[in-house]
Symmetry: C2
Subunit: 200 residues, 2 copies
Amino acid sequence: MSTGSPLLADLIEALRCLPGVGAKTAQRMAFHMLERDRPGARRLAERLAVAVEKVGNCRRCRGFSEQEVCSFCANASRDKHLLCVVETPVDQLAIEQATGYRGHYFVLLGRLSPLDGLGPKELGLDLLAARLAEGEIEEMIVATNPTVEGEATAHMLSQLARAADVRASRLAHGVPLGGELEFIDRGTLAHAFGGRQSLL
Amino acid sequence: MSTGSPLLADLIEALRCLPGVGAKTAQRMAFHMLERDRPGARRLAERLAVAVEKVGNCRRCRGFSEQEVCSFCANASRDKHLLCVVETPVDQLAIEQATGYRGHYFVLLGRLSPLDGLGPKELGLDLLAARLAEGEIEEMIVATNPTVEGEATAHMLSQLARAADVRASRLAHGVPLGGELEFIDRGTLAHAFGGRQSLL
Ligand SMILES: [Zn+2]
Ligand SMILES: [Zn+2]
């Protein structure tokens, strides 16, 4: 241990759970907080503890929520005729921030991947089918990633839409193949979203 | 707010107290922890809360410590004849990690800066003088930053050493002017430390 404080060493070690944070960055973060921003550090500790404890998944869209129903699903001013299906909550955030989309979402929390034990059940497709059967959705926008598994997922989703007699569309080409939505710049994503095309 | 969870939005905002973390990175960190590493996030929240609460300053060297006396000062196997004086705990860590130094430290928690109200008293120079007067220190290694204020601080420290009849040395040239120890690569820092020179 290279510090005079075991608790500080513990903190540095724990900071490495953050993505992209190595030993050196974790040290800088720990020292910065203790030297210069204890109120900020205390607030972070509290909010992190609360979020880990309370944030679960919305029972309607499966996105993150501390309520039974998230604030997207509960928002009556959003367009109830549009449903955008994404793989993860990060993709949901990326679309919300990059585009003017103000419809509803459905979060698969994964993509079809039989080898990982991810099938229709794990992706909540029964919940999605029930949602489509409610009859309010007029267009389902499929925003899975343009990877092999994402494409397979999109195919299954389009079948689901057809069975429910709901129009399905996909993000326009423009999303680079093999890319992940999360890392695409806003302009490209907004363009692809605006130019989404009908599925079959 | 671009997420369906107000608590998640709060967490993203709080993560921005970390140095170098902007809006986009804070989002990635929050989603990563909630999606993939809740145990790590819980541990981080706990350790951060404990560190903010318990870690204070060693009453002997002023470095970080949750005990009255830090684990450097309490370590009888370290060389009690050497005292390295640094501006901040981060500089202390940098020297400990980059060099083979295994003597003791004294942390100024700043540098002479009258305009900021930082004078000899704030830097704990009375404590340092008392330490030198104990008679065990044979060499005081001045490792302040090579900035104008760091140089002024070094000058005052060398006077303190002379008054106590203790040999004073400085890190060798090799530390770039205007640089901060914290950001210097280990090799350069180790070299400068090994080649430290007598003051006056
Ligand atoms: Zn929801
Ligand atoms: Zn100490």
